[in-house]
């Protein structure tokens, strides 16, 4: 579905991505983990051409994203829903208006249907009673869920999550994890989840990739990831108190 071929990117004079290769299959929940500044957000931005690679190619369902423009680019972007790290809700619109925005601005959908779809989508993320509030009135976790509702209202094939659980308490984080799982089951979407929260990644991921110094240190299923011989992976696991001796139990949803 998404394929990175030897993607390199230099930002601020230093290489951020240094020959990244991986492929994400349809229906997967692919987690990208790594320390802050490892280039996780940059990797996501390449998938929707918010950034273009200096070298290498990125293919989304066969389309070369790096060179797409105009209608081609719109078609590629149409496949995606993107949950930004900051949720990126428009500050002057209410939650419901934010979620309705793509429908109202782009499609000729009539108002009753819009309201209906907005309500259903908000209910999916558990915000059915908060549609009238503006983003500054709600908590960080609610903003993330509102951003998610906006990302999925056009029924994308792929959802990109940038740090969906960062800055949230553990309980809310697990709620978001469950939501990601539920969306995958209900809508059959492909998910790419960027996170530095390994607990999340191990719980929801079908495969986990670890980014380190612009390269992929490991790509593996959660079980294999735990057993990885890579030193970076083991250090990252240890830093989050996840050890082989006390095996992590997959979250029972």
């Amino acid at each position: 579905m998404i394929r990175f071929e030897k993607v390199t990117k230099v930002l601020g004079g230093k290489p951020v991505l240094d020959g990244i290769d991986f492929e994400i299959n349809r229906g997967e929940t692919f987690c990208i983990v790594g320390a802050s500044g490892a280039g996780k957000s940059v990797t996501l931005k390449h998938m929707v051409r918010l950034m273009t690679p200096d070298d290498g190619r990125i293919l989304v369902a066969g389309d070369d994203v790096g060179s797409a423009t105009g209608a081609d680019l719109a078609r590629v972007r149409n496949r995606f829903g993107y949950l930004f790290q900051s949720a990126a809700l428009l500050a002057w619109l209410s939650v419901a208006e934010n979620v309705a925005l793509p429908l109202r601005e782009k499609h000729d959908v009539d108002e009753d249907e819009i309201l209906d779809r907005v309500h259903k989508t908000l209910a999916m993320v558990g915000l059915e009673n908060d549609g009238a509030k503006v983003p500054s009135e709600i908590s960080g976790g609610m903003r993330k869920r509102a951003g998610l509702a906006r990302a999925i209202i056009e029924s994308p094939e792929i959802i990109l999550y940038d740090e969906p659980t960062s800055g949230l308490d553990p309980v809310t984080s697990r709620t978001i994890d469950r939501l990601i799982g539920k969306l995958r089951e209900d809508l059959g979407v492909t998910s790419v989840v960027v996170t530095h929260d390994l607990h999340s990644a191990l719980a929801i991921g079908t495969r986990i990739a670890m980014l380190n110094r612009g390269r992929i240190a490991e790509i593996a299923t959660p079980e294999a990831f735990m057993e990885s011989s890579s030193e970076e992976v083991q250090r990252f696991l240890a830093a989050q108190y996840i050890t082989k001796e006390a095996p992590w139990e997959r979250d029972q949803q």
Partner: protein
């Protein structure tokens, strides 16, 4: 695409390289501004859709009505100062009744559009740059682009239409208030009655003065909007960048109002 890739330039090696870089950046900014203007004008074909109409009205309120208070005070005192200064000189020749013409013509031709332009640059241009800059920094612009909602059509076009309508109206309002201010000084300090003041003011000012003044105001409105939106979109470096973009938007708008004002006057009156 409005979203720009971050750029990095190693520190310039010497003065010439530094200067050359400034020249290139300047030319590029002119090009980007021109392009933004063209895109916004092209997007005006959607100006009559229901959503756009609502947004335009909101922007007219934000840019116009909210600046009305400041504009009134500034216009009143501009007229009063004009009347006082010319009145003092003219009274040496017993010509103080001609302050009517002096105030009317200079308000219509120059001071009305000029003062309106400066105030709108300071109040509205800065707000536009700050708002769009914040949206860039908090990835809202990027979010719009991923949803394939054109930020130029969604954000710049309504502002451009609103300012193109409001700036000439406000400039005209400024003229009227200025003339009233002149009349107050005339009546209270120079002994010119309201009747002779108004008679004098309306006798010599021609339609051309009005048209050129309004045209100037329209130009200022367009330039302030495009420059401010351009600076907002060009924001980098987080919250600090927003402050920097705002400052630059106001500064550059001021300069343009001054310089363009001169050239329009030269074009029509020389």
């Amino acid at each position: 695409m409005v979203t720009r890739e971050p750029e990095y330039f190693p520190p310039a090696e010497n003065f010439v390289a530094q200067l050359g870089r400034h020249v290139i950046f300047f030319c590029r900014a002119v090009g980007q501004g021109g392009l933004l203007f063209l895109q916004a004008v092209l997007a005006m074909r959607f100006a009559l859709t229901k959503r756009a109409r609502q947004e335009i009205i909101v922007q007219m309120f934000v840019s116009g009505i909210k600046s009305l208070g400041v504009i009134t005070v500034v216009a009143l005192f501009t007229g009063m100062i004009l009347a006082l200064q010319t009145g003092i000189e003219l009274s040496k020749f017993n010509q103080e009744v001609n302050i009517g013409t002096a105030v009317m013509v200079s308000m219509l031709r120059e001071m009305g559009p000029f003062m309106t332009g400066l105030i709108l640059a300071a109040c509205v241009g800065s707000a536009m740059a700050a708002q769009l800059g914040t949206m860039v920094v908090s990835e809202e612009i990027a979010a719009l682009e991923i949803m394939s909602i054109d930020p130029v059509r969604f954000l710049v076009m309504p502002r451009l239409v609103a300012m193109s309508i409001m700036t000439p109206l406000l400039a005209f309002y400024t003229c009227i208030i200025g003339v009233i201010g002149g009349g107050i000084v005339g009546a209270s300090q120079l002994g010119v009655s309201w009747v002779s003041y108004i008679d004098n003011a309306t006798r010599f000012a021609g339609a051309k003065d009005l048209y050129v003044g309004l045209f100037k105001a329209l130009l200022f409105g367009v330039v302030i909007t495009i420059l401010s939106c351009h600076e907002g979109f060009a924001t980098t470096q987080g919250a600090v960048g927003v402050g920097y973009a705002t400052r630059k938007a106001v500064l550059v708008s001021f300069l343009h109002v001054l310089i363009l004002g001169y050239f329009v006057t030269r074009l029509f009156y020389v």
